[in-house]
Amino acid sequence: MTASATENIYLPKLAVLDRVTDDIAEVKTFHWHFENAEEQKKFKRFRPGQFAQVSLFGVGEFPASLPPSPTEDETFFTIRQVGSCTAALHQLKPGDKFAVRGPYGNGFPMEDYYGKNLVFVAGGIGLIPLRSCIIYALAHRDKFQRIQIFYGSKTPKELMYQPNLREWEKSAGVECYLTVDRAANGWTGNVGVVGSLFKKPGVQVPVDNTVAFVCGPPIMFRFVIKDLLAMGFSEQNIVSTLERYMKCGVGKCGHCCIGVAYVCVDGPVFTYEQIKKLGEDI
């Protein structure tokens, strides 16, 4: 994306919070829209995997993944409360105003994946950025071959986007496999790490002509990558999105610069082959 010559790249646009829904402990989804309808229309051209900078005036600005798909009507963020900005966002009530700028970053090149199998592997809140791709892929179902989702969390209560999960489990167009580390609340599904799903009887992961999306905590990432490589996936067919401390989102402030990349403009989406070359912890 290219900004016009006169545009102020640091100026966010005012947004109004519509409603807040609880996801899991400390994670909430914030539905919002831009005050200016024109801005809303411009913003809606984002690609899955891009991110936005969210401003809480007086506290600061932080980068947030975009969980909605551009094919959906609503715009929302799903945010875990970890720092001062996210805590301030969690305090907001419907009708309150904040500000957003973006979308930024490269996003997943979904058009390049047309005609391929898609395998989504997510752990915990790693499902947030992948939700956008999954919804996008299902909205363009005829463009892709098989679609598989492998998703795990610590406990059944910590599974994100439960209405979506139930829908995907029932849908004929997608194979959705869930797992938890510790069973509770009458959980009858699989117990174990995400990687254990790959070896379950009846599960067959396509390797040829397949792109694997991996998002989750560092430890899960490392093990899933090992499993995928062992299955025969090539490093350039495994994609992920990186998280870094960021201030500007437009390649100027320097905080997210690793290896030869500024995560905010050259990423956040990288293939595993690229991530390895960048040479920093995930």
Binding site: G251, C253, G254
Partner: protein, 392 residues
């Protein structure tokens, strides 16, 4: 994917007709020269002030200390032409140490955002060639690629640069200067509006832009003769030999860093000497990193400011929640030198993020300024040289 629009003040190469009109002949130079008497040199400061510029010039403090300050009627006669380059670089006139980006007011639940810009006409008189290259690097970084930084641009397009060539080996050239190795000096070849060089009783003035050339209409500037050009060349020849620090392995370091051929052990050795003070980044004319902070300025008013930041500091990459991908000091030092010297970035900006000013070497308590790092890498490479001739 990457666009490199020309920054402001960089003129396109003159057309043949333009060369003819400016009397450039076939020498392949796009610059025209004039001669100005030594006693008239500070009149350039007066002219710039009359044109409405805030003129910044270097002054001497005590001992080695020197600093850039605004020229006033009172201090005008104290402006120095030959002095050690101030440690606090003139970068702050295009990228202020602290700069307000937005003013935000809350009125009856509504939020009013107002970007604030500074459009002060400024001239830096007496900027050294290394710092001219530094500003050019900032131009490439902030104005090139996909996003233009409008705050930077507003400072930059109002800035007039009068470069003074370092010709006095005792006053101008410091212990740590290595512009000859970074290829930025002692005489800048471009990116200034006006360049002055001391020829003894008189100075040669060279115009680098139409704005600089426009100054030549003033009668203090006299026609230059071929003998002046010859004298300029002879002085430069001599000055190039007077550098104390020569970082002769600089290009090789660029290659080794770009190819990832530097051992982790060497980075650790460099990192172990870093005191994490951030001094190197604050005195660097080509460092670009900043952080952004909101601060309360009234009961219902905040301002969003950007502040110089440093990759040497531990919290530079620490995310909310505490995860820090760069935990070890040497990871961060490695980062600084990689970002400055990796071929990928030199190509991306068409300019190198080290201009050879030597400030980092002068301020570093651990002696890991750029020249020392280059030397440490050279030594480590020599020790690890795997090619040994076989006496067969």
């Amino acid at each position: 994917m990457f666009s490199h629009p020309l920054p402001p003040n960089v003129p396109p190469s003159p057309t043949p007709a333009e060369r003819e009109r400016r009397g450039l002949g076939g020498r392949g130079s796009k610059f025209i020269a004039r001669i100005i008497a030594r006693t008239d040199v500070l009149k350039i400061v007066d002219l710039l002030r009359q044109q409405g510029h805030e003129v910044i010039a270097p002054f001497c403090g005590r001992g080695r200390d020197s600093f850039f300050d605004t020229v006033t009627d009172e201090n005008r006669s104290a402006v120095e032409l030959h002095l050690p380059n101030p440690y606090y670089p003139p970068k702050r006139f295009v990228l202020p140490h602290i700069e307000r980006l937005l003013k935000v007011r809350r009125i009856n639940g509504d939020i009013h955002m107002e970007p604030t810009y500074t459009e002060q006409k400024r001239a830096i008189f007496g900027i050294r060639s290394c710092d001219v290259a530094g500003i050019y690097h900032l131009d490439r970084f902030y104005l090139g690629r996909d996003f233009r930084d409008i705050y930077y641009e507003k400072h930059r397009k109002n800035l007039f640069l009068v470069n003074v060539v370092c010709t006095d080996p005792n006053r101008d050239i410091g212990e740590e200067c290595f512009c000859v190795c970074a290829d930025t000096g002692p005489a800048a070849r471009d990116h200034f509006d006006l360049q002055l060089m001391d020829l003894g009783d008189e100075f040669m003035a060279v115009a680098g832009t139409p704005a600089g050339e426009a100054m030549f209409t003033n009668p203090i500037f006299k026609k230059a003769a071929e003998a002046h050009v010859e004298r300029r060349r002879a002085i430069l020849d001599e000055v190039r030999k007077r550098f104390k620090t020569t970082t002769s392995w600089f290009p090789a370091t660029v290659r080794y860093i770009s190819q990832g051929n530097i051992l982790e052990k060497t980075w650790e050795e460099i990192g172990n000497r870093c005191l994490e003070c951030g001094g190197c980044t604050y005195v660097c004319p080509a460092c670009t990193c900043f952080t952004v902070s909101d601060r309360q300025v009234g009961p219902d008013e905040i301002e969003r400011v950007r502040i110089w930041d440093s990759c040497a500091l531990g919290g530079f990459t620490r995310m909310a929640g505490g995860f820090n991908p760069r935990r070890a000091v040497h990871d961060r030092r490695n980062r600084r030198f990689f970002r400055k010297l990796a071929h990928y970035f030199i190509q991306r900006e068409l300019s190198m993020a080290c201009v050879g000013c030597g400030r980092c070497a002068a301020v570093c308590h651990g002696d890991i300024g750029m020249p020392s790092v280059v030397e440490m890498i050279r030594r480590a490479t020599a020790e690890n040289d795997k090619i040994a001739p076989q006496p067969i």
